[in-house]
Amino acid sequence: MKNSLYIVIVGCGRLGSHLANQLSRAGHSVVVIDLNEDTFGDLSPDFSGFRVVGDATRIAVLKEAKVKQADIFFATTHEDNVNLMVAQVALKLFNVKHVLARVFDPRREEVYSQLGIETICPTLVAAEIFLMAVASSRAARGDVRP
């Protein structure tokens, strides 16, 4: 497949494995990195990508996963600091074009957008959607002002 991308995902938890399964099914070349071999069990049986067991905060592990060749890099561990560190390494040292990190703590998120790290803060994202629900409910009621 000419359009298949090389995607590295750090963390095979619920988010990571979900992404890995979808992307692999879509025909992309996916590499998942996790500390714990057991978590790879969350990958679906038809997962056709690679698994690397190791600590992604060690550059040796990122090299093993050949991050340098990645088109996309997702940091989805449950630890903000790990995500922030590996995202920076991928972006600044391996020059990966598209790097995304999940960061739970909104206060950390704002500092890192300064550094050019693209982050997803689930709390804020959910908050926005909830707030939109309020806005649309008010619109339905005929409120003019937001």
Partner: protein
Amino acid sequence: MKILLVGGGKTLYFLCQNFVAKGHTVVIINRDQEECVQLARQLSATIICGDGSDALILKEAGAMGADVVLAITPNDQDNLVICQLAALKFGVPRAIALANDPENAEIFEKLGVSAFSITHIVGSLIEQRASMEQIVNLLPVGEGRVNVTEIVLNDESPVVGKLLKDLDLPENALVAVMMRDNKPIVPRGANDLLAGDRVVLITLPENHGPVLRAFTGERI
């Protein structure tokens, strides 16, 4: 100076003691409730119990007015984030991270965070001591970036009999001081070098090998 120490264990304990003895103000951030209680009892420092990579905790610890933040937890990713938050959000002028994995020291530096690696320093020292008796690396200065080394010149040394100005030293190397017959000499170009002289060299890691070789004539 006001110093923020983030981490735990013996290293933190003795570092704190050392800084306090020197007259600095120390604030410790530690995650473990019990350890915090212990530290509060034993040290004359302010102890904040919490996650040093949480901006609120850093704020509580007075990061705004800190001169130095030293992050020495066992987790490199935490040390990195602590230092970046301290520098970017609180403007702390010196934020230094311990890189437990020695490969991360260089990585942190590339990401703009000063870092040091204990493995590297100790490994270096052992290696240098093991290789040559006449060389003593006095201190890794500037977080391991400058070497101060003392050499005793013997008869085989290629520089013996030469004048300092005739030595073909690589750039950024300096002969800081010499001891001859226990008298210190700050050498100038016209000074000669004799067997038995103890020479103190200042070098950067890049030229450390060649400079040492120039003085001792041996492959390290």
